[in-house]
């Protein structure tokens, strides 16, 4: 492919001519893919500032567009449209409408930190992805992703009891996102686990599900954390000029 990041150019912006002859030279085919010129006027000049104000986005201004993040990205290898370098560019340029075209996949960052490892400018792109995903949700461009719902369920349990119980997280998460618990592969896994599990241990797992594991002397920490999270939420909304 002549243009390396072809996926960056939307199909509607490509102009393909089947037969072009210039000065007697046939330049059709591979070389006849031209990019339609266009004019962008709807910049959001506050975009970079808003993303920078959210946790993780603080260092976006350091980016010099080398592309190490996208090169090393785990999700990019699965889906070429997942392109941190490009999104950082769009945010810094204020090209909100372009960014919104990818609004449904930005949350898919798996936090493997390969980008943060590779980045020569300490942009911390993993954090920028999280800040961008939160910005999309706070601004109402997308509903809360499954990932965010999982994070919220998890954090609520930690704040409440100091610990988590995996079974409860999974049950609550599936209920919250409207997914059936009785999926083929989950049942198969449960079957394989139970097959070799001694009775005593199965009992212990049931016990943990009924009586949630808790950290002793946690009440004050729980209250302090609840208060802090509330404060931060208000701060983030204010940074984006939201009610």
């Amino acid at each position: 492919m002549a243009i390396h990041e072809k996926s960056l150019i939307r199909p509607e912006d490509l102009k393909v001519q089947d037969k072009v002859v210039l000065d007697g030279v046939d330049v059709s085919g591979h070389w006849s893919t031209f990019i339609q010129s266009r004019v962008v006027t709807d910049y959001n000049e506050a975009l970079e500032e808003e993303i920078s104000a959210l946790p993780g986005g603080e260092h976006i201004h350091r980016c010099w567009q080398c592309g190490s993040c996208t090169n090393s990205c785990t999700v990019n290898a699965v889906n070429p449209d997942f392109n941190p370098r490009f999104w950082i560019y769009l945010v810094r340029m204020g090209m909100e409408s372009e960014l919104l075209r990818d609004k449904d996949i930005i949350w898919q960052c798996v936090s493997c930190n390969k980008c943060t490892y590779a980045c020569p400018r300490d942009v911390m792109p993993e954090g920028v992805m999280k800040a961008t995903a939160h910005w999309l949700e706070l601004k109402g461009h997308v509903p809360k992703s499954k990932s965010t719902q999982f994070d919220e369920e998890f954090t609520a349990q930690v704040v409440a009891t100091g610990k988590i119980e995996e079974g409860r997280i999974i049950r609550n998460f599936f209920a919250r996102t409207g997914q059936p618990l009785l999926q083929d592969w989950l049942l198969e896994m449960a079957k394989r686990v139970v097959r070799r599990l001694p009775f005593k241990q199965g009992l212990a797992m049931g016990w943990a599900a009924l009586f949630r594991p808790r950290t002793r002397k946690w009440a004050k920490a729980s209250a302090a954390l609840g208060e802090y999270i509330h404060e931060q939420e208000a701060r983030n909304r204010k940074a984006l000029n939201l009610e």
């Binding site: 390969k114 490892y117 999982f150 119980e165 592969w185 198969e188 999270i229």
Partner: protein
């Protein structure tokens, strides 16, 4: 006395649940090697991979509380966490508290309200179970204590993301001979080789299993895991050795899912490195929780004459 001989132990939530076998095998290996573990009293969750997405400072506080207890209530100098998530988060908190004034202020404020001492950077060393055995015992001493051997067992060593990334929170790594490498980690390889295993050349040691989205984006996780499993098999591995409960359960879960949803069956088995070391040290597979694994490691060990 070696400073890793007697350490504070932070098992974390996963090791009380799906990673129960990792907990049991870590303790059993410690016992066999004469390394002492003292569990941190009233520990809490470190924040795992989720809490930082709600607010990063909450994760820093959660991790700092565990370290504060180890320092102020146990007089510990070293805390060992076998879970990559816990290990990473404690390291991250250590880095942030040493380098970021805002983090220090938030942690101090919450700690005071919660009624305990504030953790100060530089007062505790956080290590992984791999450091604990590698630097607390070493390959030579480990060899001396072996009661058997993993001879003939072909192993792919899988370290995942959080043991080496991001590198700035692991200042002790990449320090040349004897230290761990963040690009080509080898501590687990070294220990298992000492126990007789045949380590295969595995290119995906630090690839991501999609653990952070294992349930919220299962399709992506299944693809990532299948890639790891197939690469291990292509390298000739019978076992993927793991050192993180999230990676371990992710690999096992999505191995089943790949089979059920994509019709792609793989045969490689997952075993915690502590289970493998335990076998070589003569600990019974049941004591190491091998029967709790989803992939049938017990059958493989029997087949190889190791159980």
């Amino acid at each position: 006395m070696n400073k890793y001989q007697r350490v504070a132990y932070y098992p974390g939530c996963a090791l009380e649940g799906t990673g129960h076998a990792y907990n049991a095998s870590t303790k059993a290996v410690g016992k066999a090697l004469g390394l002492e573990l003292h569990e941190v009293a009233d520990w809490n969750c470190c924040g795992a991979m989720e809490v930082k997405n709600v607010d990063p400072q909450v994760q820093t506080y959660l991790s700092s509380r565990v370290m504060a207890i180890a320092v102020h209530e146990m007089n510990a100098k070293v805390v060992m966490a076998p879970c990559n998530g816990c290990y990473h988060n404690l390291k991250k908190a250590e880095y942030d508290l040493a380098n970021d004034e805002a983090s220090r202020q938030v942690v101090d404020r919450i700690s005071k309200k919660a009624g305990h001492e504030t953790y100060r950077a530089g007062t505790l060393e956080t290590i992984h179970a791999l450091d604990w055995i590698k630097d607390g015992i070493g390959e030579q001493e480990l060899k001396r204590r072996l009661k058997g051997s993993l001879k003939g067992l072909k192993v792919a060593n899988y370290y995942g993301c959080m043991y080496t990334r991001p590198r700035h929170i692991f200042p002790e790594k990449d320090r040349g001979p004897g230290s761990e490498s963040t690009s080509q980690p080898h501590f687990m390889d070294d220990l298992l080789a000492a126990a007789g295993a045949q380590n295969v050349d595995f290119p995906l040691k630090t690839a991501c299993c999609g653990g952070a989205h294992t349930l919220s984006d299962s399709d992506t996780s299944t693809k990532l895991v299948l890639n790891i499993l197939q690469a291990a098999e292509a390298a000739g591995a019978e076992v993927i050795a793991t050192e993180c409960p999230t990676c371990h359960s992710g690999l096992e879960m999505h191995q089943v899912r790949a089979e059920k949803v994509l019709g792609r069956k793989t045969k490689v088995r997952m075993l915690y490195f502590t289970q493998l070391l335990g076998v070589a040290l003569g600990v019974g597979p049941r004591k190491l929780g091998v029967h709790e694994n989803v992939s049938d490691g017990l059958a493989l060990l029997k087949e190889k004459g190791l159980a």
